[in-house]
């Protein structure tokens, strides 16, 4: 079993942005503990600080105060190369806008993180093909992002996020740019990866379809935690309609 039960912990995280004369406090003391293997949704209206929290957990932005621990390592203590190492091996990122490298094919996109991890070309290519097969794009290896639909691009992004076997997948509005049906497929894919590979999924979203599959939902409002709900509580509230599989 893991050295610690919690894979992500944040403690009193504060992040401010300067908007002209005014200072906007996007995160106002967020403390959450996320267990290994959980499927977490961070819910909240736009402007509530979801994405800022996402960036703080992912080590993409430094909080102004407070700490973020990944596997008990304080991210504030890491230098830029160690942060790069962490992003490379421990965290896989998925974005609303997919953020595939447009000049590269699906396979090259998925291979990119393996290059940063120092994997050799053959191994990386093999891994890329395996992952694209896993997300159902085995027939589209050499297509550029512009030749793929939104749902397919997001699948490539998911395959890319998995390239180095991360223990956490961070998704920022992964279904935000997709239609309802494609969105459901992406959510199901994430859930499947969470169950089968034990990857911790943390997703900032305001897509209510996510509620059905999440273990816990963290509601954020004005940069603070409004409430944290377990799905078991939610089931009672919704009269057992949601998540019938469990």
């Amino acid at each position: 079993m893991a050295a610690t039960e919690y894979i992500v912990r944040t403690k009193d995280v504060i992040k401010e942005f300067k908007m002209g004369q005014e200072t906007l406090r996007a995160l106002n003391g967020i403390s959450v503990d996320i267990k290994r293997g959980e499927y977490i949704s961070i819910m909240g209206p736009s402007g509530s600080g979801k994405s800022t929290l996402f960036n703080a957990i992912g080590g993409l932005d430094k909080p102004d105060s407070g700490s973020v621990f990944i596997n008990d390592v304080d991210m504030a203590q890491l230098d830029s190369n160690e942060l790069a190492f962490l992003r490379c091996h421990t965290i896989g990122y998925i974005f609303q806008t997919f953020n595939l490298i447009v000049v590269m094919t699906a396979l090259e996109n998925v291979r990119l993180p393996t290059i940063f991890a120092g994997m050799n070309t053959d191994e990386g290519t093999e891994r890329g093909i395996e992952l694209l097969n896993l997300v159902g794009l085995g027939q589209r290896l050499h297509h550029k992002p512009s030749e793929l639909s939104g749902g397919q691009q997001q699948r490539v992004a998911i395959a890319r996020a998995l390239a180095n076997n991360p223990s956490i997948i961070l998704a920022d509005e992964p279904t935000g740019n997709l239609d309802s049906k494609t969105g459901t497929e992406i959510i199901e894919l994430l859930r499947k990866l969470n169950r089968e590979k034990g990857v911790t999924v943390i997703s900032a979203t305001h897509d209510y379809k996510m509620l059905d599959v999440s273990d816990r939902i963290i509601w954020i409002r004005d940069g603070q935690i409004d409430k944290i709900e377990n799905r078991s509580d939610l089931d009672i509230q919704l009269g057992g309609m949601a998540g019938q599989e469990e």
């Binding site: 050295a3 190369n81 790069a84 190492f85 953020n99 000049v103 590269m104 993180p113 940063f116 070309t121």
Partner: protein, 209 residues
């Protein structure tokens, strides 16, 4: 359960600097060349700035060698002109590099999210700049040399023109022009590349261009 990453990370944390990600240069070069091919016209803008500056340098230098009679004042004036033109083209290259970096903030941010170390971003831009610098400088030297040669040949004929310049000088000039061009391009790339590399990934991703 996923493979145990906490030990891996802690190891990386403790042995700062030892677990640095090493990238095969060949991979960086192939990514850089691919990038240049895709952004062909943008690369051409950068390249034309270098080409023109170096062409002028090459033209004037070739002229100076083949025409030994020009006076000291004349030489000084020409050197001054060449230096000015190189300065102007350096500013042009910086501008064009800044544009090219800004255009690619999202791409850089994405690469950082995927684990690209800052050094990778810097290396990528330097490799690209070196390619453009070498090729454009060579082309610039050729244009300037041919221009000067044609001018001389029109006056004294091809054979005399060739003799007045000589193979050794031609090769020296070529090497000099290519080196100067590549050097200028590298200097012009430092600031934009540095800016791209140290930018936090989130800030790079937020940028809308």
């Amino acid at each position: 359960m996923p493979p145990e990453n906490s030990d891996l990370l802690r190891a990386s944390h403790e042995s700062a600097g030892i677990s640095r990600i090493r990238l095969p240069l060949a991979t960086v070069v192939s990514i850089a060349i691919n990038g240049l091919k895709i952004r062909f016209w943008r690369s051409m803008v950068t390249a034309s700035g270098i080409l023109l500056g170096i062409a002028f340098l090459s033209f004037v230098s070739t002229n100076l060698i083949s025409t030994a009679t020009s006076g000291r004042d004349e030489r000084a004036r020409l050197v001054w002109l060449v230096v000015m033109s190189l300065l102007v083209s350096t500013v042009g290259i910086v501008n064009s590099m800044l544009m090219s970096v800004t255009e690619r903030f999202r791409e850089i941010g994405t690469m950082k999210c995927l684990g690209a170390p800052d050094g990778f971003v810097v290396t990528l831009f330097f490799v690209e700049a070196l390619f453009v610098g070498f090729i454009a400088s060579f082309a610039g030297w050729l244009v300037g040399f041919l221009g000067a040669f044609a001018q001389k040949a029109a006056a004294v004929g091809c054979l005399h023109a060739g003799q007045s310049i000589g193979l050794t000088h031609t090769l020296e000039l070529m090497g000099g022009c290519v080196l100067v061009g590549a050097f200028i391009t590298l200097i012009a790339t430092i600031a934009p590349a540095q800016r791209a590399a140290i930018m936090p990934a989130a800030a790079a991703l937020r940028t809308e261009v």
